[in-house]
Amino acid sequence: MVRTDRPRRPWILGLVIVLITAGVAAALITSEESGTGASDVGDRADAADQPAGPDRAEASPARCEPTESNPGGTNNYIPDAPEADSLGSGFVIQGIVRTAEGCRPLDGVRIQVWLATESGGEQDNRASTFTDSEGRYRLETDPTIPQFGEPNIHVGYDDSGYREVFIRRVVDLEDTRAKIDLNLARGG
């Protein structure tokens, strides 16, 4: 093979490099940082000082768009998580469950939560909790840890009466609580 110090067809090589670079850039730009629909729901407020509950504006929203499941929401889901008020301490997951039609708080609805913490992976660390008369649920856990690159929380509803919802949300390592509201729609 004859070796020169320049490619034989530099424009073809240049085109290949430009196309690969553009393809990689497009693939990265079109991705979502934490995965599709996985918004950051955590904050660093002192959960002990601020018990779960909506502020006044949140208690009466003008509209309640149905909460949609997002990709990855069912990851590691095992049906019928055991009922529990606590999975440890140091991190609070809370929210309000409402009807999508009419925005009414739902009382006695079972919400399932699962996440990885220092005490176990997502399949070990799961609980069912129920909403109160104002539609609020609250679960205290050990802080979530990033076994798969980012701390994330799963919340699901799959009982009869409303359409099932499975969502995956993320938090930051320093967060101490997460707020995840659900608006449940009938049918489906």
């Binding site: 110090d5 990689v24 991705s31 069912t74 005490s119 980012e150």
Partner: protein, 188 residues
Amino acid sequence: MAAGLTAVVVVPVGLALSDGHLASGPPALVLSTAAAALAVSALALQPLLAGSHRISWHRALGGAALALVLVHIGGLFLVEVDDTLFAMSPDGPTRARMALIGTLALIAVVILGVARARLPMSGPTWRILHAFLATLAIVLGFGHALLTDGALDGPGTAVLLGFGAAAVLAVAGAYVARARRARRAGSG
């Protein structure tokens, strides 16, 4: 020299394995994390070997780097199949997309190296393509590690930035050195 080499190998894996995200992690997660941290060291050293006369070492370490990346991915499958498949899906987070494309680039680099004599391309074309894909694998691999919470945070971030920048510069240096060597061989 030996102390520096040891540091390049030991520091990333030491930092990664001492992080709290492995607290409740199964052995497969520890293995996966260790393999990924060792791959960081391998990718950092590869361009230095490419620029030296130790091409047989460069080839061996290239194969080892790819094997470590595959062990990393395999370990994640053993930890949680759902999360691994989700990460590799179109809905996965940006860091996972970087890892996926970076792995493909690394596979392409290794194939180019193994099949060099049988490929219908000139020496300069091969060198440019090999260097381009190696740079892509390094940038995306280190980018993946930087965006990943847990294993190499804090001082690990500084290590990744330093190693990554050095590796990219070393690719350019290796390309220049190899091209000069080829020109001398051609004119001699």
